[in-house]
């Protein structure tokens, strides 16, 4: 019985038909999606913190408005994604708990600090840029609600990426101090961005299964290569040097070769030892705990209100 269901499920995926919430799905498919979508949702929300860090210091009113709108978009992405996740039978509050108690992960990139204004540009260019590489294929993910959420998200991400690039482009044409700020930000954000694609394929045991289920369309290393190729060209426009002595064009492969990734750093940050892991989770937890009385009040009021309406009708 189970076997037949499983075969029908896979056949449906192979025909490029979407799996919808009410459809039968293997437990492992559901679990994989919950983990991936919630990680993605948490990344959007935690990602608001490093960028929000510069809203009050944005250097012009135009930049201030654009940054607020950007961070607000990320909140919106979080919302779509939590909703998509809820269709798999888990609620948002439980997902938050998992974030707060450390059982759920989010993208490690947000465990790095934003030190100067140029970091805001670098995040847009590199981090949103890497997010796009990861997410565009997800628009064709086999799970319908996730795929549809990604279509909306991707449109906004590419806007963010251009906006970040434009911040950096402005700095690249500015004073020596501004150019210095730009190079420094790229030095700090480059490798963590390259790591955003996750462990190398050989250390990524679930990749094959996820590709079979068409949750994933490309491997981590394929996406990473694409990212490096694109960024190398864009870095030239910004007149900035990528902090990798080994990066160079490989005619044979038709791609840029690049230096060795410091996987030790990657795993350390995943484990919680990045520069801001503790602060990020603490900030999210504080917002949630401080907001408890507000959520309770809203609930109490709406209960009282419906009670009053009911009494009115009875009377």
């Amino acid at each position: 019985m189970e076997n037949n269901l499983e075969q029908a499920f896979q056949a449906k995926i192979d025909r490029e038909e979407k799996i919808e919430p009410k459809d039968w799905m293997p437990e492992a498919y559901r679990k994989t999606l919950i983990r991936q979508i919630s990680q993605h949702a948490h990344s959007e929300i935690v990602g608001m913190l490093p960028e929000g860090n510069w809203i009050t210091r944005a250097p012009s009113l135009r930049r201030k408005v654009a940054l607020m709108a950007k961070v607000q978009d990320e909140a919106g992405h979080g919302l779509y994604l939590y909703s998509a996740c809820e269709t798999l039978g888990i609620n948002r509050d439980t997902l938050y708990e998992q974030l707060h108690d450390g059982t759920a992960k989010y993208s490690s990139i947000f465990n790095y600090p934003t030190l100067t204004w140029a970091d805001i540009g670098a995040i847009g260019w590199l981090v949103d840029g890497a997010a796009i590489m990861n997410q565009v294929p997800l628009c064709r993910c086999s799970y319908g609600p996730y795929a549809r959420a990604m279509v909306r998200v991707c449109k906004e991400e590419s806007f963010h990426q251009r906006q970040g690039f434009e911040i950096l482009l402005t700095l690249s044409k500015g004073s020596d101090e501004q150019k210095n700020m730009l190079q420094d930000a790229v030095n700090r954000w480059w490798w963590p961005s390259v790591m955003m694609f996750g462990p190398s394929d050989k250390d990524s045991p679930h990749t094959a299964r996820s590709m079979n289920w068409k949750i994933k369309r490309f491997t981590n290393d394929e996406l990473r290569q694409k990212f490096v190729d694109v960024c190398y060209e864009q870095a030239k426009v910004l007149n900035v040097k990528l902090p990798d002595e080994d990066i160079k064009w490989n005619e044979e492969r038709g791609h840029y070769d690049f230096g060795a990734i410091d996987w030790d750093e990657f795993w350390q940050v995943v484990k919680g030892n990045g520069p801001c892991n503790k602060q990020r989770v603490a900030a999210r937890k504080k917002a949630w705990d401080d907001g408890a009385w507000v959520r309770e009040a809203a609930l109490a009021h709406s209960n009282k209100r419906s009670e009053r309406l009911k009494n009115k009708k009875v009377a």
Binding site: M68, Q178, A300
Partner: protein
């Protein structure tokens, strides 16, 4: 001419400082939807301030930009009311500050539709749609918090106690306001008191909250005499422009 510039700057500063305060919430709201609502209002207000600073810069006619006006004036030059520069405090304090201001701003901007200055009335028309939403949002929250739980009721009452002394300044016109009224450009803020009081009373009634007695009014912001909090807000906001003057960003 000076009265005109000062009047517009006063409106612009109110919008910018309150918008800036609200933006401090971004990423830290009590629930995602309200985090977004707070940022939304912040976006509206900073957007309104930009239109107003642009208008002010054109009145001033010294080749300055909106950013010169926002980033290169000091505490004593800012003309916002004291209410809007007060710190966020807890969510109740933020909500109440917003409500007291929105109720005023809504009636002010309605009257500004008839300003003799075409540009100002156009800005008012655009802003009014946003302000109408702000007032609805903050009113609903005052009601939720007042009516909700014992704790939320206590917190909103504490907010009333803390902020009420700053409400009165809204209705005490500065000299530039009086001149702006004479020229048909501006609105007599004293004349808005009654409309405002009715708005407050209606919402407070529904929220089970008492309207406080008339009390001592803290004032001065309209003339550049602020609370100590504004200096820190400006230091943070203006940091980059001040540290690296004359650059494009």
């Amino acid at each position: 001419m000076n009265y005109k510039l000062n009047y517009i700057l006063h409106l612009a500063d109110n919008a910018l400082i309150l918008g800036h305060r609200l933006s401090e919430w971004c990423g830290h709201g009590p629930v995602l939807e309200q985090d977004m609502a707070l940022t939304n209002i912040a976006l509206d207000l900073v957007g309104q301030s930009r239109s107003l600073y642009q208008l002010a810069a054109s009145i001033q006619d010294e080749g300055k930009t909106e950013d010169d006006l926002a980033y290169f004036r000091d505490v004593i030059d800012f003309k916002n009311v004291l209410l809007v520069e007060q710190e966020n405090g807890d969510f109740a304090q933020t909500i109440l500050r917003q409500f007291l201001f929105d109720a005023y701003n809504f009636h002010l901007y309605q009257k500004l539709l008839k300003s003799s200055d075409k540009q100002l009335s156009a800005i008012a028309e655009k802003s009014l749609k946003e302000i109408t939403y702000h007032l609805r949002w903050s009113s609903e929250w005052v009601i939720r918090l007042g009516d909700g739980t014992e704790e939320s009721n206590r917190r909103i009452n504490e907010a009333i106690e803390a902020l009420w002394p700053y409400a009165g300044e809204l209705f005490i016109p500065a000299t530039y306001e009086l001149e702006a009224v004479k020229e048909g450009l501006g609105v007599d803020s004293a004349s808005l008191k009654e409309l405002w009081s009715t708005e407050i009373k209606n919402v407070f009634d529904e929220a089970n909250l008492e309207v406080p007695e008339e009390s001592w009014v803290q004032k001065g912001g309209k003339n550049g005499i602020h609370t100590e909090k504004l200096g820190f807000l400006l230091a943070e906001m203006q940091f980059l422009q001040r540290a690296y003057p004359g650059q494009e960003w």
